[in-house]
């Protein structure tokens, strides 16, 4: 190629040069890549959705994790060192999630907690795996976050606190078939959201192989607010319940609009339902005969759970949702792993995490299996007049 200009015409290349040089210069200050393990504190990165689409999840986890580390530090820290928490916002974008991970590596963290959603965790994993820094995903329920089925490989550096989506679907399908005795279901899935799709697919599989039948399946996208068309269509197929595995923003609208259309069927869902907003959107009177699977229930009388709820309320003046509980558990899980490793070396922490067998968290007793899936109980919660009641705790079969 020839770069022979004829006139005084653009030489934009030069500007590229000037500015990239500028960036380069600005970039020099950033990177001091040394692990903090040898310092006075242990640096832990927190990479969360504090703004954007799913800011509420990130905020819940942040509150939970900060509470946990505060308590841990107040008890004298881990291995005699204080834990220093670096919280960063990834704006609910997976590009940013990755950028943040790189930034945290540069800060010398020994482990990263977060992000909240499976997609954003997956965005940061390659970078952190390269740097051999373990990740604890508090709420990433997609199985592929830790285990790639296609290639049968485990993502060694990724761990999670929560159960996986198929567990939720399985437990709910089992409950519907065995306890409620319903056989004909309909589903409404957010086709833009892998969480919703994953749950929907797994549910359909468990439900149909165990004698149930899905008579109607409808989709929508995140920005939708009008669902009556889909609901009308579902209702014409006469199902006995509707499975709505999606987040409370849509669930609220869907249940409200269903009730407006006179559809009084039971509605089932998953942990994405857990938010006080659900009641304010749908209205308490609409939330009858609704069930969802969750990580824990604030109704649970167990002592450690009630003391957590109390401590959280004292610090933030609110009831902790599932995300807060998972964030809290992620904090303690990491501390436990560092304790067991006897060192804040990231690779030792990774080994310790892989061997966690009986960690007692707010969200239940958990073990981490060979695919880095978490084995734990699920809570089934029923809504009556918008009020949550814990009706069962079930262990999924795997």
């Amino acid at each position: 190629m020839n770069f022979r200009g004829k006139k005084g015409k653009p030489v934009a290349l030069l500007t590229v040069l000037v500015f990239v040089l500028g960036i380069f210069a600005a970039g020099c200050g950033g990177g001091t890549e040394e692990s903090s393990a040898d310092g006075d504190t242990i640096k832990v990165g927190v990479n969360l959705e504090l703004s954007g689409e799913v800011a509420t999840y990130g905020t819940g986890i942040k509150n939970g994790a900060e509470l946990a580390f505060e308590e841990i530090n107040a008890d004298g820290g881990v291995l005699g060192k204080e834990i220093e928490v670096l919280v960063q916002d990834n704006k609910s974008q997976n590009r940013e999630a990755r950028n943040i991970a790189e930034k945290l590596i540069g800060e010398g963290v020994v482990a990263v907690i977060g992000p909240a959603t499976s997609g954003n965790v997956q965005a940061e994993v390659p970078v952190l795996t390269d740097a051999k820094i373990p990740v604890i995903a508090p709420a990433a329920t997609a199985p592929e976050v830790t285990y790639d089925e296609k290639t049968d490989t485990v993502k060694e550096y990724v761990f999670r606190v929560c159960f996986i989506d198929p567990d939720q679907s399985q437990v709910m399908a089992q409950y519907i078939l065995d306890e409620l005795g319903l056989k004909k279901g309909a589903m409404m899935v957010n086709k833009e959201d892998e969480y919703s799709i994953g749950l929907g697919n797994a549910f359909k599989e468990f439900f149909t192989t165990n004698g149930g039948e899905i008579v109607a399946e409808e989709g929508f996208i995140t920005s939708d607010t009008a669902f009556k068309s889909q609901l009308t269509s579902i209702s014409s197929k006469n199902p006995e319940f509707i499975y709505v595995p999606t987040y409370y923003k849509q669930v609220g609208l869907i249940i409200k609009q269903a009730r407006e259309l006179g559809i009084e069927l039971p509605m089932m869902g998953a942990d994405g339902w857990d938010s006080p907003k659900l009641v304010s959107i749908a209205g308490a009177e609409s939330l009858q005969d609704c069930y969802f699977t969750n990580h824990y229930s604030i109704e649970d009388p167990a002592e450690h759970i009630q003391s957590f709820v109390k401590a959280y309320d004292e610090k933030y003046g609110a009831t902790p949702d599932s995300f807060a509980a998972l964030g809290y558990d992620a904090g303690y899980l990491l501390a436990e792993a560092i304790e067991q490793a006897g060192s804040a070396d990231p690779e030792k922490i990774q080994e310790a995490l892989a061997n966690i067998k009986d960690f007692e968290g707010i969200s239940g007793e958990m073990a981490i299996d060979e695919k880095h899936f978490t084995v734990k109980d699920l809570s089934i919660i029923k809504l009556v007049d918008g009020q949550q009641t814990l009706i069962n705790k079930l262990k999924p079969e795997r």
Binding site: M1, F3, G5, K6, K7, G8, K9, P10, V11, A12, L13, L14, T15, V16, L17, V18, F19, V20, L21, G22, I23, F24, A25, A26, G27, C28, G29, G30, G31, E33, S51, G52, Q88, D89, K91, Q93, N94, R95, E96, R98, N99, I100, E102, K103, I105, G106, G119, Q122, A123, P126, V127, E144, D148, K191, E192, D193, E194, I197, I221, T222
Partner: protein, 321 residues
Amino acid sequence: MKKNLPIVFVCVLLFALFAVVQVGLSSGFISSYWETNIYLIGINIILAASLNLINGITGEFSLGHAGFMAVGAFAGGVITLNLGLPFLLAIVVGMLAAALAGLLVGLPTLRLRGDYLAIATLGFGEIVRVVMMNIDYVGGAAGLMGIPAVVNWPIIFISVVFTILLIRNFICSSHGRSCLALRENDTAAQMMGINITYYKVMAFVIGAALAGLAGVLYAHYYTIIQPKEFNFLLTFDILVMVMVGGLGSLTGSVVGAVLITVASAFLQSIPELRMVIYAALLIASAVFRPQGLLGAKEVSMNLLRKWGGVLNGSDGSKQAQ
């Protein structure tokens, strides 16, 4: 008459830039966080320059750039991930696919007047997103995951230089002048024997192909692509770069892309405010300088002389930030 920069000088500067960054990266002097930002700057330069070719040079107004980028990203991802073929082929296919999309959008919508065209292309971008989401072969809503991470500094550097040379060569040719003519006055342009439909489509196709290139690079750097990322806000970001840099100025697009990407990195901790600032910038650049920061001016030797020693001073002044 303005003098051109001596070619040797430019080549030396370019090589120096390349080498400095390369050494910085391999020695670990540039942290991986800033490495990402440098790559992002490269990708954004390609996006801004190609959008400027459509919006600034040819005077059409496209809001579908994220859509073209998505087509390139997914086509490229399919080549390397689903089919296991080489990256170079991914670039070729990604660009061709995006060019085809440009042709498909360009042909029917060209009858539309400026602001209608803008909305129609915005609609196109949304349609692309919805369609991608419903194609299981490209992963549906989850998108493609595990695309080989082959993009490195030399690839980004070559792509940026390639893009700028291509657009520059295009502008400084009879075809580029035809595009400028139809921006200035399409009736008169027709009277000069210019087939305006042909040139409008050409601008769309070239712009789209380059956006596709940016998409392929993006896909093979971040390794995960989801349809929902390629939404209107992405086009908006690119539009801000073009407008701040100056509609119609290639140099401006480069400057705009660099400024906005760097600003974005610094404003990371306050994302809402970042959007507020961008929006205010867009309004301000439209209201006070429809021609943008540099206007349609290009950086040439004369301008550089006026700036005097900018090159020498740049390191220090940037470090001060």
